[in-house]
């Protein structure tokens, strides 16, 4: 996985709450057997009209936000289906950071597995960031993972929490499976023990 360090880019505002993974990527695009190329259908039903033309009103279609790398979203972002196609599409579009007051659990986990940093902030900080995101392409935010800081275009600094293990993996681009396989002997030991204690499993 690519290493994650610092993002300095345009932040797009999406204040709608409860944006679910069906909105992020509708099921018609889940039939792929690949991980790549889904950016073009990110937010498909909001982004395109029925005839396939772009909806000019949709935030990521506006000239200022077409290159957005950060998304400032409403509460409970990523709820619903577990489809990892949602973070795949977000990443493929070029968004590397999603900021909200809360995320659905599975989506939140899926982000870290794909080099996307989901950041939970307090409501008052969220309001500041949402306002900043509304300023368009000249207002660029900076997200610094090592320092755990977001800096708005006006220089306001907001600190955020991140799980130390996940931070380490993102910063170093580490693959979870490889890390877990280093603990193989613990898994062997557990299996030996469990097959005695619960042989019916």
């Amino acid at each position: 996985m690519e290493k994650f360090d610092k993002v300095h880019g345009v932040a797009a505002p999406m204040p709608l709450i409860n944006i679910d993974t069906d909105m992020i990527i509708p099921k018609v695009h889940l039939k792929t057997i690949k991980r790549s190329g889904l950016g073009v259908v990110l937010f498909d039903e909001m982004r395109y009209h029925d005839d396939g033309q772009e909806n000019e009103e949709f935030i990521l279609n506006k000239p200022a936000y077409r290159e957005a790398e950060i998304l400032v979203a409403g509460d409970n972002f990523g709820c619903g289906s577990s489809r990892e196609h949602a973070p795949w599409a977000i990443k493929d579009f070029g968004i590397k950071v999603v900021i909200s007051t809360s995320f659905a659990d599975i989506f939140f986990n899926n982000c870290f597995k794909n080099g996307i940093l989901p950041i939970v902030v307090e409501e008052e900080h969220h309001a500041i960031l949402m306002e900043d995101a509304h300023k368009g392409e000249n207002a660029r935010m900076t997200v610094h993972l090592e320092d755990q800081q977001i800096t708005t275009s006006d220089g306001v600094v907001i600190e955020f929490d991140v799980d130390p293990h996940r931070k380490h993996c993102l910063l170093n681009g580490l693959d979870d499976i490889g890390l877990t396989m280093e603990k193989d002997h613990h898994i062997d030991k557990f299996e030996d023990h469990a097959s005695q204690a619960r042989p019916w499993v």
Binding site: P15, L16, I17, N18, D20, D22, M23, P26, K27, V28, L30, K31, T32, I33, K34, R35, E45, D50, G74, D75, N76, C79, G80, S81, S82, R83, E84, P87, S102, F103, A104, D105, I106, N109, N110, K113, N114, D163, P164, H165, D176, I177, T180, M181, K183, D184, H186, I187, K189, F190, E191, A194, A197, R198, P199, W200, V201
Partner: protein, 467 residues
């Protein structure tokens, strides 16, 4: 020893390694796999030259993409769907995992097949690349959905990297009123907590009304724990559970059964165990409910009216306005006046035999409203066969329902079963999101009995009027 919750007990029994910061490797007893969220995971294994660590604990079945019309025996017409199902056929064979192919009578929705075949047992950890894995919590198994990267992780290591969630208790006291079902309980709870109310928690459902539910009803309740944002839902096992499990193809037998029972009987929350959050609803207060909006939290008794956006606070005001517009409703409109075009009975929430019985009970000797489209999609081939044996299929067919083969079908509309833009559906499934059942489609979630009532009158209907 300090008192433990049911969640604490199952968690503790499955920690293979704990790091200093509390990050654990949780051992997984059952890994269920379907065709949509697994191809990239198997591909990842191949690229890295890895094997499936525990193929004997890995069970695959195609469900999301499969057509439910009788002609599917001739193959899947949609090329993309066919490729995904064929990829699962091949992956199951190459990696040596248990498999129920599309034309096996045991095929069905993964969350119905797992329990039906006895793969899901009390005290287990169960995962699947599907958010409705919460269903298996009905057995007192810790079960939750995972993403495709985690599917690959479990295939390769039989573990998941996890941190422990908080404990929430949801107690439903007393008895349910006639016409009120497990679906109404689970929707009413989400109405209470909101779709993010459970985020960061594992819910244990308890109380007299939960105890009185069958396994089918308990699965319906746990299935929608995820719609409340919870990682998992749990119900402690009891005689109802053991009765359901006993004799299933993969359930333990003989001395193993006795040993299993000894452990299963320890799987309950100790008195005075700590819950971080407690919610209590009175069973008597729960009415038959329907959803009016595009989030499962948008739920009201069938006797209510469509709310006004300004009745809400914060971001919900705009969300409610958008929902009401999308749904083509008007604030103040009586829910029981809302006319529907389609009825869908099925899904991992309500595609089990008891659900079909409840709907058939209302439909017996009646016809669906003229011009309505109505379909029943049994949750598995075995549910379908049983319903035919019990005469339920005839009731549905005589009423005017289509009688389909098993699959996820119109719950997520990945197969040809889809709503047209503006088409309004009374559905026993689990999500009323925008476009969920087809682009522009409008979904009202309700119980199987309520769906049957709506099919007869052609509008959302209080089932108690037809009982």
């Amino acid at each position: 020893m300090s008192p433990k919750t049911l969640y604490d007990k199952i968690w503790d029994a499955h920690v293979a390694h704990e790091a200093d910061d509390g990050t654990c490797l949780l051992y997984i007893d059952r890994h269920l796999v379907h065709e949509v969220t697994s191809p990239q995971a198997f591909e990842g294994l191949r690229m890295a030259g890895r094997k499936v660590r525990a193929p004997e604990k890995t069970i695959a079945v195609p469900d999301h993409n499969v057509p439910t019309t009788p002609d599917r025996v001739n193959g899947i017409e949609n090329p993309e769907s066919r490729i995904q199902v064929e990829a699962l056929d091949k992956n199951a064979k190459d990696f040596g995992i248990h498999y129920y192919p599309v034309n096996d009578v045991r095929q069905g929705i993964v969350h119905i097949v797992g329990p039906e075949q006895g793969w899901t047992l009390p005290g287990m950890t169960v995962v699947c690349g599907d958010s409705h894995t919460a269903t298996h919590g009905a057995f007192g198994a810790l079960a939750h959905g995972i993403g495709t990267s985690e599917v690959e992780h479990v295939l390769a290591t039989q573990t998941l990297i996890q941190k422990k969630s908080k404990n929430m208790k949801v107690e439903i006291t007393g008895k349910l009123q006639p016409g009120v079902t497990a679906k109404d309980i689970t929707l009413a709870v989400i109405g209470e907590t909101g779709t993010a109310g459970g985020t960061g928690y594992v819910i244990e459902y308890c109380g007299e009304a939960i105890r009185n539910l069958s396994m089918e009803g308990r699965m319906t309740v746990c299935n929608m724990a995820i719609e409340g944002g919870a990682r998992a839902g749990l119900i402690a096992p009891d005689e109802t559970t053991y009765e359901y499990v006993k004799g299933r193809p993969h359930a333990p037998k003989g001395a193993q059964w006795e040993a299993a029972m000894d452990w299963w009987k320890t799987l309950y929350t100790d008195e005075d165990a700590h819950f971080d959050k407690v919610i209590t609803l009175r069973g008597e207060d729960i009415a038959p409910v329907v959803t009016w909006g595009t989030s499962p939290e948008d739920v009201l008794p069938i006797t209510a009216t469509v709310p006004r956006p300004e009745d809400f606070e914060g971001g919900k005001v705009d969300a409610a306005r958008r929902s009401i517009e999308y749904m083509g409703l008007e604030a103040g409109q009586k829910l029981s006046d809302v006319e529907i075009d389609t009825v869908f009975i099925g899904s991992c929430t309500n595609g089990r035999i008891e659900d079909l019985r409840a709907a058939a009970e209302i439909l017996k000797g009646k016809k669906i409203k003229d011009g309505l489209r109505a379909m029943v999609v049994p949750g598995s081939g075995l549910v379908r066969a049983q319903a035919e044996e019990e005469g339920l299929a005839d009731i549905f067919k005589e009423a005017g329902f289509e009688w389909r083969l098993a699959g996820c079908s119109m719950c997520l509309a990945m197969n040809p079963d889809q709503l047209q833009p503006g088409e309004r559906c009374a559905a026993t499934s689990n999500r009323n999101f925008e476009g969920r059942q087809g682009r522009g489609g409008r979904t009202h979630l309700l119980s199987p009995a309520m769906a049957a009532a709506a099919a007869i009158t052609g509008r959302l209907t209080d089932v108690r009027e037809l009982m």
